[in-house]
Symmetry: C2
Subunit: 125 residues, 2 copies
């Protein structure tokens, strides 16, 4: 299943790269100049996730948001789990450079972390 380069893929990737925020499918659809089908956007995004180009966050609104996997300065090798911040005022989600730290009971094995803080961001407070 080799990947192909398409205008759609390019457009979505560029949008995500230029965005400071995590974007939902409908935000992406709105912000793109070219018209791309809803289902296609999801498929492109999910492929990006499979390829670890993008990570998916699910917020308390139950919606999926997608953000480029930027590597943290301190740990260039790993894109570790970090907190996300959802501002209720401007309704945007961004990645914080704050690693998620936790311990789990014996026998538990963590594969993923989905952590979203909610409140008011600097721009809105």
């Amino acid at each position: 299943m080799n990947r192909r380069n398409t205008p759609t893929k390019e457009a979505v990737l560029n949008l995500l790269l230029s965005s400071r925020k995590a974007l939902s499918q409908d935000a992406i659809e709105r912000q793109l100049d070219i018209e791309i089908n809803r289902a296609t956007i999801y498929r492109v995004l999910n492929r990006f996730c499979e390829d670890d180009i993008v990570h998916k966050i699910v917020a308390e609104d139950g919606k999926q948001y997608f953000a480029i996997c930027k590597k943290c300065e301190d740990q260039p090798e790993v894109v570790q789990h970090h907190f996300h911040f959802r501002c209720l005022s401007c309704d945007s989600i961004e990645c914080l450079q704050v690693p998620v730290e936790y311990s789990v009971p014996n026998g538990y094995e963590v594969q993923n972390a989905n952590c979203v803080l909610t409140g008011t961001c600097n721009d809105c407070s």
Copy 2:
């Protein structure tokens, strides 16, 4: 808007009290002996949330799960934000007694935290 006691409310509350896990609407509906309408279950649960009897978790499946606000031994006054664990094997969500710790950039104000770790629980590993 005074609250009234109803069989429905009782039943849902007792179920949540007796459950070690956070429950979704459909899990509650399935586990109850009495027949309660879907919309009603949601309304009861949301009222519990408003009254801080129950807290809501949204998992990466986008679904809402509800759990009794048990107070942690260490900080009996406050039900502080804690991690949740979702086991992909037995598909259940539970509250961990692990507080969520974080810092946020200047000017950010956190009102809530929704943190779910995903993986395999002790029973399934």
